[in-house]
C-alpha cells in the first residue's frame, strides 16, 4: 500500500501518486517541501541532504504504516531527496488518499511531521554569507 523512496535525482511523484488512486478514494492531500531562500532570517543558497538509507527506509515505512493504522486513509507514500539542492528544488513529497478529505489532510500532516522528527535524514543549510550549518530540527528526548 505505502511506499517510500530516497532519491539522489529530482523528485518525480507521478508514478507514486498514481499508485494512490483507488475507486474508493474521494480525497487526496499532498505536501511538498521546497528549498526556500531564507531560514531564521538568514539568506539561504541551498541545502545538502544526507540520509542513512537502511534505517531511513525502515523508519519512513513505519511512519506510513502508522498513518494507515491511525487514520481512515486508503494509502500514503513519501519520496525524499538526498544530495545538493538549490532554491526551488523539491526536498520531500508526501501523498495521501482517503475516502474523505479530513483523514487525507490529517494523515498527510502526520506523515511530514513524523518524517521530520524520526527519519535519519539530515539537512545542511548553505548561507549567502559563505558558512553552512547542519540543522537540528529534533531534540532527542528518549535515549533508546
Amino acid at each position: 500500500m505505502s511506499a517510500f523512496l530516497l532519491t539522489e535525482t529530482p523528485i518525480d511523484p507521478t508514478s507514486f501518486s498514481a499508485d494512490l488512486r483507488r475507486d474508493e478514494a474521494g480525497g487526496y492531500c499532498s505536501f511538498e517541501g521546497w528549498v526556500r531562500n531564507h531560514s531564521d532570517g538568514q539568506a539561504v543558497l541551498g541545502l545538502d541532504y544526507q540520509a542513512y538509507p537502511a534505517l531511513a527506509e525502515t523508519e519512513a515505512l513505519a511512519v506510513l504504516r502508522e498513518a494507515e493504522a491511525r487514520f481512515d486513509i486508503v494509502a500514503a507514500s513519501c519520496i525524499h531527496r538526498t544530495g545538493s539542492l538549490v532554491i526551488g528544488d523539491m526536498a520531500v513529497w508526501i501523498g495521501v488518499s482517503a475516502a474523505h478529505r479530513d483523514a487525507a489532510f490529517t494523515a498527510c500532516r502526520f506523515v511530514i511531521d513524523e518524517i521530520k522528527k524520526r527519519v535519519p535524514i539530515w539537512k545542511r543549510e548553505r548561507y549567502a554569507d559563505g558558512h553552512s550549518e547542519w540543522i537540528a530540527c529534533h531534540e532527542v528526548t528518549e535515549n533508546s
Binding site: A56, T58, V92, K116, K117, P120, I121, W122, N143
Partner: protein, 87 residues
C-alpha cells in the same frame, strides 16, 4: 547469555552530518573493547572531538535503533544518529 567475544571486536562505524564532518570520514573500521555503545561513543568522541553529547544522539546497530547499554559485537555496523532534520 553472553556469547564469548574475541578480545578485540572489529566494528564498522558510519558517520552522518556533523559527526561525518568532525570525524573527517564517512566510514571507518575500528577495533574496540568498549563494553557498551555509550562507552564506544565516548572513546570515538575523544579521538574525533565530536561536539554533540551522547544525550542528543540515538544509536543504531545493523540498521536498527539500539539501547546505549548494548555491547558492541564483532562485525557490528554502528551508526550514531544526530538530531534529524529531514523534510
Amino acid at each position: 547469555m553472553m556469547l564469548a567475544r574475541p578480545e578485540m571486536p572489529r566494528l564498522t562505524l558510519e558517520y552522518f552530518a556533523s559527526l561525518r564532518d568532525e570525524a573527517g570520514c564517512a566510514q571507518e573500521q575500528i577495533e574496540s573493547t568498549a563494553p557498551s555503545l555509550s562507552a564506544l561513543y565516548d572513546e570515538l568522541s575523544q579521538r574525533h572531538g565530536f561536539s554533540l553529547p551522547a544525550t542528543r544522539l540515538r544509536v543504531a546497530v545493523n540498521a536498527a535503533f539500539a539501547p546505549w547499554d548494548q555491547s558492541p559485537r564483532d562485525g557490528d555496523h554502528v551508526v550514531f544518529i544526530p538530531p534529524v532534520s529531514g523534510g
